[in-house]
Symmetry: C2
Subunit: 337 residues, 2 copies
Amino acid sequence: MVTISDIAAALGVTPSTVSRALSGSPRVKEETRLAVEQMAAEMGYERNIVASNLRKGKSDIVGVIVPRIHREFFSNVIGGAESILNAAGYSVLICQTHEEFDAEVKALRTMRNNQVAGVLMSHAIGAMDGTHVLDTLGDSIPLVQFDRVFSSLPGAKVVSNNFQGAYEATKHLVSQGYRRIGTLAGYMNSEAYAARLDGYRKALEDNGLPVDETIVFYDTIVRETGFEGGLKALEAGCDALYCAGDFCALGAIEAVRSKGLRIPEDFGIVGTANESFTALMTPTISSLALNPFEMGRQSALAFLSGEGETVVVPMELKVRDSSNRNRQLNLTHICPK
Amino acid sequence: MVTISDIAAALGVTPSTVSRALSGSPRVKEETRLAVEQMAAEMGYERNIVASNLRKGKSDIVGVIVPRIHREFFSNVIGGAESILNAAGYSVLICQTHEEFDAEVKALRTMRNNQVAGVLMSHAIGAMDGTHVLDTLGDSIPLVQFDRVFSSLPGAKVVSNNFQGAYEATKHLVSQGYRRIGTLAGYMNSEAYAARLDGYRKALEDNGLPVDETIVFYDTIVRETGFEGGLKALEAGCDALYCAGDFCALGAIEAVRSKGLRIPEDFGIVGTANESFTALMTPTISSLALNPFEMGRQSALAFLSGEGETVVVPMELKVRDSSNRNRQLNLTHICPK
DNA sequence: GATGTTTGTGCAAACGTTTGTATTATTAAA
DNA sequence: TTTAATAATACAAACGTTTGCACAAACATC
């Protein structure tokens, strides 16, 4: 491995001059810089980042902590963050917590020991509050939280606009002429789900429809509970459902079909998250898209800017066949061109 | 930040003793080790990994380079690798290449500068051979390639058993009574697709069916080309298709349906990759599953073992409704319990 | 031409750890 | 009791970079 000392020796200068030349300090003559740069290229020099980091007490590595890398949402967040960070000269160190508190603490410790320049994280379900973050990370490492955030912690936060999104989704169902719109609401211990429920309620109110608590179905997240929720909604006379997840929306669709009803003519469905399968089903499923890539970008930008503000990333309603009564089913994917 | 010198000072010993005590060297008295450990805990000491790495010339970071983090396959590979590496005390540094050669070189350089303990990688489409890897990485950093490998490069390789997998998939179609089985074969400049085609051919041969080149449809990868391929297969009198991808299988299913035929009664379909949507469609799509998580695990294990062997990860045929003539459609997902 | 100000380099310490060698304390053998 | 062996610790250099300070040369000011 060739070092700055080697370059210095080759040029008859000192390592400090080489260091300054390579880092673009104004304290070296233009001529010297050129000579150094040329020699560095010639000798195939690459700065030893580890040594540099030790000396500077900072690294160009940013830690990202997520519950699970291979969940679509998180891998997209990582992709978004990486796109910004890489361009800014940072690398990304990944840890997953598998939703466990202990693993989250361990991940934070890993980040601190590696002296990362900052940490972007989304908390494990198992983490009840944020005290462990401050304890482990100290206050010298900037923190950015995304999606699952503790407002008690300092630093920037990047979240989805769940209220507004659910409001739009519900309003869309109203605009399509559905009149008894229920919801599969998810778990209320999650802030995100609670906000979606609020948005749903507000949309009904604002559009002159009654808010009927008997057609709010809680704890419906996965396909099976979505199916059950769908059946209950039918019994309760619903003609549409805003679903706080896509898997439960899928279950609900199957429930509606099992009763011989048509979608979207007889029953409308909007899911949430824009999972990739929603665009592939027949009918395609309307979904309120999270924007994980953008959340990743915003998290990275928040880290780079160093400001501690909260960024709200809008959700986007993808109107597809399952809620679109006004036009023919979109069959372009079945019969291309 | 508390250092080993602080601990040493507090105990009236030297930093070297503290270092040895903490790393479990047999050259310190049991009594001293205990005292050091206790003091370290008391003072909240955490080893500075950067300094340690600099001195040792090695780090406990393993680099992973993939074309795109948020592709399902790769994020699962990363998840698998991380599960092994984390347990072994390593952290994972991620770079993506976006399928570009230049980005791959940059990623390799990042890895080298960070003095990673090893690199696990899958090459970008844009990389034509492996010379850049050797040039950039040198021969001191162990390399493990997975999925997209250059056999010319040294080190371990982890690949899927495409030949065997396609063989099994095709044999399965034969066993279900299909007799004119075509294939949507994909791009032949990819080793993986070529191997699948070979496996398909061999299975037909071994089962006494003719290998008919007029029902091998090339360059069919995405949904649209799959739809076209499906139509052509119907015109050619096929009653089944082995598809080298899941998206083209989806297209083929839509083509079959557009002609009013039933699946699997009139026409059988098997896809490849086990994309998550295959289990969610109606009917569910049989698919030849890659095993990305296991490939990640094997890559990490290959790195840890230091051996340069090639590991072949078996593919697994997931028999679902689209090719299963022998039993009723699997409706458990529609009507739970 | 003496004094003050830039400008460009060199010197040397520092970042926190690890590790080969030297030194001391302890024990065993003669 | 002396000597040899061993055990435990101290010493000091190293890893490669960065950076405050010192220093010299070049230039400007009066």
